[in-house]
Symmetry: C2
Subunit: 238 residues, 2 copies
């Protein structure tokens, strides 16, 4: 597909742009080691991430008022610590540090160079369910070349709610089909397409660690597919 009218490349963050599994696992391991807690950090990171979807779903369903991702992460962390019977071992300061782990995650090896190329031709923006402060901290720490931070928090809704995709287009003052949503997740791609955006599936087979099964491009359809931001830059003529 040609891309003459694309003006904005809007990127999902967790898994698509940064490697949450490695970043969270590393930081969980540091905290647990300091506390002499013997729970596997990688499994803990996976379990924590698995609570992400259901926690947002309660906001989407109106079962609870809007809360940003730091709040949801904290609540699911507290529950997970209880489940592992280590609630007493992990103090408040450690919990705050764990929630902040999601603010500081390593970029995939191709991200910075690929985004920098995309930025020469398009406006590059985040479009993530992470909160605005979380995303600002994450983008700064990882040195990601985004022109602006756009967060689901600005719309008090979580992807794949169409208000997030449409809100981003309105805020950036472009037509919906002038934004490409880049994501490694089928549900996000489908939500963006349903809202009128164009879509690029970025395959990240290692997203959920060595034992997890990541979404694949073939699980759905998208306007473009790529295995890295570099390949996406090629596809979009940058």
């Amino acid at each position: 597909m040609d891309s003459p009218s694309v003006r904005v490349v809007a990127c999902d963050i967790f898994g698509t742009t940064v490697d949450w599994y490695t970043g969270v696992t590393t930081q969980v391991a540091e905290v647990f080691e300091a506390l002499a807690v013997s729970v596997d950090a990688g499994e803990f990171a996976i379990q924590w991430r698995e609570l992400y979807g259901p926690s947002m779903q309660r906001v989407r369903d109106g079962e609870r008022d809007w809360a940003n991702l730091d709040v949801l992460h904290r609540e699911s962390l507290d529950g997970l610590l209880r489940r592992h019977d280590i609630a007493d071992a992990v103090d408040e300061a450690s919990r705050v540090r764990l929630v902040r782990a999601w603010h500081r995650l390593p970029a995939w090896a191709d991200t910075v160079e690929g985004l920098a190329r995309l930025r020469t031709r398009f406006v590059t923006a985040t479009l993530s369910n992470g909160g605005f402060a979380l995303l600002t901290n994450l983008v700064k720490a990882a040195g990601l070349p985004f022109d602006c931070v756009v967060s689901a928090e600005l719309f008090h809704a979580y992807k794949p709610d169409p208000r997030v995709y449409r809100g981003a287009a309105d805020l950036l003052d472009v037509a919906r089909d002038q934004i490409v949503l880049v994501a490694a997740h089928t549900r996000d791609i489908e939500g963006a397409a349903a809202a009128g955006l164009r879509t690029a599936f970025l395959e990240r087979p290692a997203e959920k660690g060595p034992h997890g099964e990541a979404d694949r491009a073939s699980d759905g359809s998208s306007d473009w597919t790529a295995s890295s931001f570099l390949e996406l830059a090629d596809r979009l003529g940058c």
Copy 2:
């Protein structure tokens, strides 16, 4: 004043970070020359800017619903063209181009280097009455080293409405006194201080062109004063 707790440097844009007078004058001159309109571009830019305050005041007073700065700029442009009796000479495409002039303005000579230094220690953000798309375009075109774009549009209110200053602190998840608002305008400084932010007055004597009178630091009080972003970086220990 010491600055141990400052975490965010939030910058006014028009006049403080970029030279709107030169940028708008140059682009108005180009458009008028192409149309063979013989109105002085510099005076036109000043007159247009003078309509900025009253146009926002109507939103603040609730006389009209929220409208972003592009809309206000367009309305005041249309009125100003009528006032100069050149409404028939300036076609739709030229008006669109003129409104977009505010999206593409040159940085002051010290801005990029000073902001880059501030960014090494603090989160740097815009905090402007310009719309989100306008600011994103402007920051990108001028290569300004901001970590994120924060616009009054996110709060549907215009500075000095306290909702803008407080909204920025909430969005960035910092206490109000952990943000320094940097501005060349007494009214902005006073509004930020009243909302609980810290303030830095940046003197820009040329802001309103060779004949205009810019605000001076001595017109009010602020936590810091500086004559450039470089001097501000010195003041804040960067």
